[in-house]
């Protein structure tokens, strides 16, 4: 009762009680909140209609596949709707993670390869664009620099198929019809690889898969990735260099005290992004380059589930198990991405998404 009274205001002059006008408005707003929401939506219906195609595409082909993930908790039965399959619980995950079987070993091998391919990419592929950008900056002739830039960006525009076809041909084995690839020849002539290895084809050699993957990755992407660093380098004011020169700084000192601090934030952001995507390897490239000889080093989680999911035709078809394998990988990947993004946000108030 006391609550009720407190809302009423006693007017001394007219000797009457009345409601607090602000409270009346508040009550009114509360009462009409949903009505107002509906009205705003109705007024802006065109805006919401514009969202429909996007929602349609994303729900049908990004979110509905997640429904199929249910299969990783079920017994895979072909021709049975995933919802009606027999429930198994976490047994697929257990088999993969702690099975101790051949299959589990294969999964762990794939997981390790996924990580290592990205990690080596981080070690060797990451610094290359920065070095390129620093060198681009040294070339003062515009024509020369543009020529270099255009040429180094070029491989990025080739499709994965064209790129892998080129790689396959350049390091191919020698067979009854034709000789070995031209890169194999060159490497053999320089004494880097033995003739037997060259003859057998570099792509058939599990020890060389990672090297081929990284080198072709650098060849393809370093020029293009240097753009972002180059933008940071040319943003440095010429007066900074002049000031450093007056202070007697040589070229190395200028690099150390002028250039590096200016591009550091870009480098850190790119590094964090790279770390965030450590577990997402471009499976298309691996799939096009690997063969059963190189599975030891080349098989990544995506290609593992590609084979076990019965996609390539042939082999065993266990979509549930295959989904489970990729789900483990992608969940850990998600944690990495979110963590990386949070760190980037802290580090530089630039959010990546």
């Amino acid at each position: 009762m006391a609550e009720k009274v407190s809302e009423l205001i006693f007017d001394e002059q007219t000797k009457t009680y009345s409601m607090d006008p602000e409270q009346v408005v508040r009550d009114d707003v509360e009462k009409h909140h949903w009505l107002n929401t509906a009205k705003t939506i109705l007024k802006d219906w065109r805006l919401y209609l514009m969202l429909v195609p996007m929602l349609f595409v994303f729900i049908c082909w990004r979110y509905l596949p997640m429904y199929e993930l249910l299969g990783s908790f079920k017994l895979s039965q072909t021709g049975v709707e995933v919802n009606d399959q027999l429930y198994l619980g976490f047994s697929s995950f257990k088999t993969l993670l702690f099975g101790g079987t051949e299959l589990s070993m294969e999964f762990w091998r794939a997981f390790r390869n996924t990580f290592l391919l990205s990690f080596y990419g981080l070690c060797f592929g990451f610094p290359m664009p920065i070095i390129l950008a620093l060198f681009f900056n040294e070339i003062k002739s515009n024509i020369m620099r543009s020529t270099f830039q255009v040429l180094t960006y070029l491989p990025k525009f080739m499709s994965t198929v064209v790129m892998t076809t080129l790689v396959t041909m350049l390091v191919k084995e020698s067979n009854i019809v034709s000789g070995m690839g031209v890169i194999s020849q060159a490497l053999q002539a320089m004494g880097i690889i033995s003739p037997e290895v060259a003859e057998a084809g570099l792509l058939k050699n599990p020890d060389l898969f990672r090297t081929i993957y990284q080198v072709s990755g650098i060849w393809e992407g370093a020029g293009y990735d240097s753009i972002v660093y180059f933008a940071a380098v040319i943003a440095i004011s010429p007066t900074s260099y002049e000031a450093a020169q007056i202070d007697g700084a040589g070229k190395m000192a200028q690099m150390r005290y002028v250039v590096l601090p200016s591009i550091l934030s870009t480098v850190v952001i790119m590094l964090i992004t790279r770390i965030g995507s450590l577990l997402s390897v471009g499976y298309e490239k691996v799939l096009l380059l690997y063969n059963s000889n190189t599975w030891v080093t080349a098989d990544v989680v995506s290609t593992f589930s590609y084979r076990y999911g019965g996609m390539g035709g042939g082999g065993s078809s266990q979509p549930g198990l295959a989904s489970a394998a990729e789900m483990i990988n992608n969940l850990i990947g998600m944690v990495l991405v979110i963590g990386a993004n949070a760190i980037a946000r802290k580090a530089s108030d630039v959010s990546l998404y």
Partner: protein, 296 residues
Amino acid sequence: MKRKLAASELIFKILSYLFLGIFALMCLYPFVFTLSSSISSSEAVDSNQVILLPKGIQFDAFKTMFTDNLFWNAYANTLFLTVFGTVWALGVAILGGYALSKKRLLFRKGFNFFLVFTMWFSAGIVPQYLNYVKTRDIFNSLGIMDDKWLIVIAMGMAAMNIILLRNAFEGVPSEIEEAAIVDGATEMQVLTKVYIPMSKSTIATVTLFFAISRWNGYFWARQMIQNSNEYPLQVFIRLKLEDYTNLEYLAGWSENYSANSAIYALIICAVIPILIIYPFIQKYFAKGVNMGGVKE
């Protein structure tokens, strides 16, 4: 002092020319080699005599390819996928990005999260495959027997591109929109007459991203297209490579040029359209990279 400075500068300059020169040549060399090998004679290619320049010129590899209907078919399919795929994806992305750029949109945060989540977590290729098979069945039961339409509509949409467009639209001053509304413009007119012209360069960049990914698309086209007449060029190239590196197939090879030349000729044909438009689109790509960092 002065001399020492000049010396270190000079060394650095020489080093950068040397390094960049070698790297640029490495980027260029495979293409020159490919072109030379595609027009060299069978003996020269098979016995590794072609290093840089063509030897014993022949054009039969190209001639045979140009008379192959399947090749032209694949080319037409790629064009189909690129044109329709880009138009569809761009339309969806512009409409979605525009709606998301409006502060007055209810549940705006929710919609944004809906997009960004797909960048964090993907269901994986096997669930995607099962989902595509189901939707393909639905498409087929609707009478759309051409699997290319599934690829056009379902694939190649990237959340990142929508976010790039959203950010560009957010950068347009709201006063201009208000002025247009006062003048009696509808929502659609505001979008087409104000927002799209004002974010031309971002739209060009996103269009290129879509178009290149469509032109280069391989994996899902190979997985989902059942009728080999509908394969795009990338799948065609890959299948040819698998044929031409198969020893049993090679044993029956009777052309007067090397099987390798046939592959090289195919690569040249796949690459040439991109090389032709490359000088014009290059600057937009450079722009796209720098839009990557996004403030929120």
